[in-house]
């Protein structure tokens, strides 16, 4: 599903050159639930950005579904992100001026062949039902708890039915009870067929996934299978 080959990522300014990732080779199968762990600044988010096509590697290739996407232009990359990838962020990234339902609809607005208003609405409602928030559709993000916000973010990530879900510390801003709820939803999505890559600092959350990749100073220092898919 996702293949990273000889990935290197260097951030350059006029005076400083920082090696964020080096010699990363990683292959993630369909329906896999993979977690990435490592100390702060080890390159977890950079790796996630490369997998999510939000950034390009300095060297190496990224393949999504067998297609090398490194040479894709802005338009193709945007289309691929929209159709194949759903994002979940630690700080939710909800738009406070839009209702929960409108927030969930946003990815469908950018879909090629733009679904009609009615079908967008139906898909968004369905996604909110899947995360148990059908009673909060008309609420605004600032009227929700942290756990509810993250569930809205998950609904937004799954509304376009992507094959891959990238979650960057999805439980990082939540207490353990809320974190467990979110983890349960992610496990459910994985059981239904989604490939999930999750960055986390929480060992207990990582243990609930199939595979754990450890990073240190931009290099992969561990890749262990925890459960069979």
């Amino acid at each position: 599903m996702i293949t990273l080959k000889n990935i290197e990522k260097v951030y350059r300014t006029s005076s400083i050159e920082t090696l964020a990732l080096t010699n990363i080779n990683l292959s993630i199968q369909a329906r896999e639930f993979l977690s990435i762990m490592g100390p702060s600044g080890c390159g977890k988010s950079t790796l996630m950005n490369l997998m999510g096509l939000l950034d390009l590697p300095s060297q190496g290739n990224v393949e999504i579904g067998g297609q090398v996407v490194t040479q894709y232009g802005d338009k193709e990359l945007a289309q691929l992100r929209n159709q194949k990838i759903g994002f979940i962020f630690q700080s939710f990234h909800l738009i406070n001026d839009l209702s929960v339902l409108d927030n969930v609809e946003i990815p469908l607005l950018y879909r090629k062949g733009d679904p009609t208003g009615k079908s967008r609405r139906d898909l968004a409602k369905e996604a909110l039902e899947r995360v148990g928030l059908s009673n909060r559709m008309k609420h605004f993000p600032n009227q929700l708890s942290g756990g509810q916000k993250q569930r809205v973010a998950i609904a937004r990530a799954i509304v376009g039915r992507p094959e891959i879900i990238l979650a960057d510390e999805p439980t990082g801003n939540l207490d353990s009870a809320m974190g467990n709820e979110i983890m349960a939803i992610l496990q459910q999505l994985n059981a239904e067929g989604s490939t999930i890559v999750m960055v986390t600092h929480d060992e207990s959350m990582a243990k609930k996934t199939h595979r754990l990749v450890r990073l240190f100073d931009g290099s992969m220092v561990g890749d262990s299978t925890l459960q069979t898919v």
Partner: protein, 384 residues
């Protein structure tokens, strides 16, 4: 996407209220200015109806002299006709073309009434000003023998009093008989509205019409003017003589119209610059505050151009809210026929104002929206 943008702006209407009011105020000022310009351009495009080149207006004032005034005026006219430099002379009332003086009267024909500019002029008036009679003929001094005073009317008067009827031979106000029709007569210059006008035959024995219009040969200069003034002063002791070149009087009339328009244009420009700077600042700030949102939108499928279009779209939506409020006010002008201006002029002014507002907001949004498009999603999401 348009519905999404409307919803986004509508939900933020509180924070955008001042901006909406500012755009609305600019639209109203622009609408007023555009109306003024459309009226004046429309007037300017209408023919003047006469020629003013090489025509001078000589105003003779008898001052304390009350003896044989009409005869003296006749002698002055004959003297003017005798100069080889003069092609034509006409005596008329003091409201000569481009003068500050104006005379208007109400006229009736049957049940139709019209308020028209009134000119009293002799038989040489049309020749001196090179006017074209479109129907009938210009009156002659010999016409004064009859029971009715001969008059020539312009097309506007004809439309107001006679609609489709042939006006020739018709009697107005029981004393005036129509002998001819001219097309336009815009005595106050090109920017004047083409109004109804009536020309009445000047009788030689009337002492109070003391302006002579003379058409001189091309190249006639101030030396001749000095000679005329001197000759008349000798001939008519105690009288004052004033010469106006119609070309100069025309410029003065134009200034009277153009100065207020230019002042309004300057005020409007300042206002629009303020709006433009305001919009520019608000957009820049908005983009700085919404980097996280931009990153998110890029992550879930927006292209750089899509982000740019979104910000331009948002400002259009904002302008549309303002313009809808503005239209509620502006549409009252044609509907209520305010200031008796044609509806078409108001509608054209509204369209111009709407286009200018959209052009300004687009220009203001272009640079910030291009900046927004260059924001790297990975960086923006990380900052949040």
């Amino acid at each position: 996407m348009i519905r999404h943008l409307f919803k986004l702006i509508w939900n933020k209407k509180g924070s955008h209220a001042l901006l909406i009011v500012e755009i609305w105020a600019s639209f109203m000022v622009l609408f007023g200015l555009a109306t003024l310009i459309v009226i004046n351009v429309g007037n300017y495009r209408q023919p003047l109806g006469f020629s003013y080149d090489n025509v001078w207006a000589i105003s003779l004032k008898s001052n304390q002299d009350t003896v044989e005034v009409a005869q003296k005026l006749q002698r002055a006219m004959q003297r003017l006709q005798s100069y080889p430099e003069v092609e034509s002379v006409s005596r008329m009332s003091s409201n000569f073309p481009f003068s500050a003086s104006q005379m208007s009267n109400g006229y009736e024909y049957g049940k139709q009434k019209v308020s028209a500019d009134s000119y009293v002029a002799d038989e040489n008036f049309a020749k001196t000003l090179d006017m074209t009679v479109t129907l009938g003929r210009w009156y002659r001094s010999a016409d004064s023998i009859g029971k009715y005073t001969p008059i020539v009317i312009n097309q506007k008067t004809r439309e107001a009093l006679f609609t489709n009827e042939n006006p020739l031979g018709k009697i107005i106000d029981k004393r005036l008989k129509v002998v001819g029709v001219v097309d336009n007569f815009k005595a106050k210059g090109e920017f004047m509205t083409n109004k109804p006008a009536i020309f009445e035959l000047l009788k030689a024995d009337q002492p109070w019409h003391d302006t002579m219009l003379i058409k001189v040969k091309p190249g006639t200069d101030a030396v001749f003017e000095a000679k005329v003034v001197k000759d008349i002063a000798i001939m008519m002791n105690g009288w004052s003589v004033e010469v106006d070149y119609l070309t100069d009087s025309r410029k003065n009339q134009h200034n009277l119209v153009l100065v207020p328009v230019i002042i309004a244009l300057i005020i409007c420009t300042f206002l629009l610059i303020n709006v433009a700077l305001g919009l520019f600042g608000v957009l820049n700030l908005s983009i700085a505050k919404r980097r996280g949102e931009i990153g998110l939108r890029r992550a879930i499928g927006a292209t750089g151009n899509g982000i740019s279009s979104q910000f331009v779209g948002e400002i259009w939506v904002l302008a549309t809210f303002s313009l809808l409020i503005g239209l509620l006010f502006a549409m009252q002008f044609p509907l209520l026929n305010v200031f008796d201006v044609e509806s078409g002029i108001y509608v054209t002014a509204i369209l111009i104002a709407v286009l200018v507002i959209y052009a300004i907001v687009t220009l203001c949004a272009l640079f910030p929206s291009r900046q927004a498009a260059t924001i790297q999603p990975a960086v923006a999401l990380h900052e949040e």
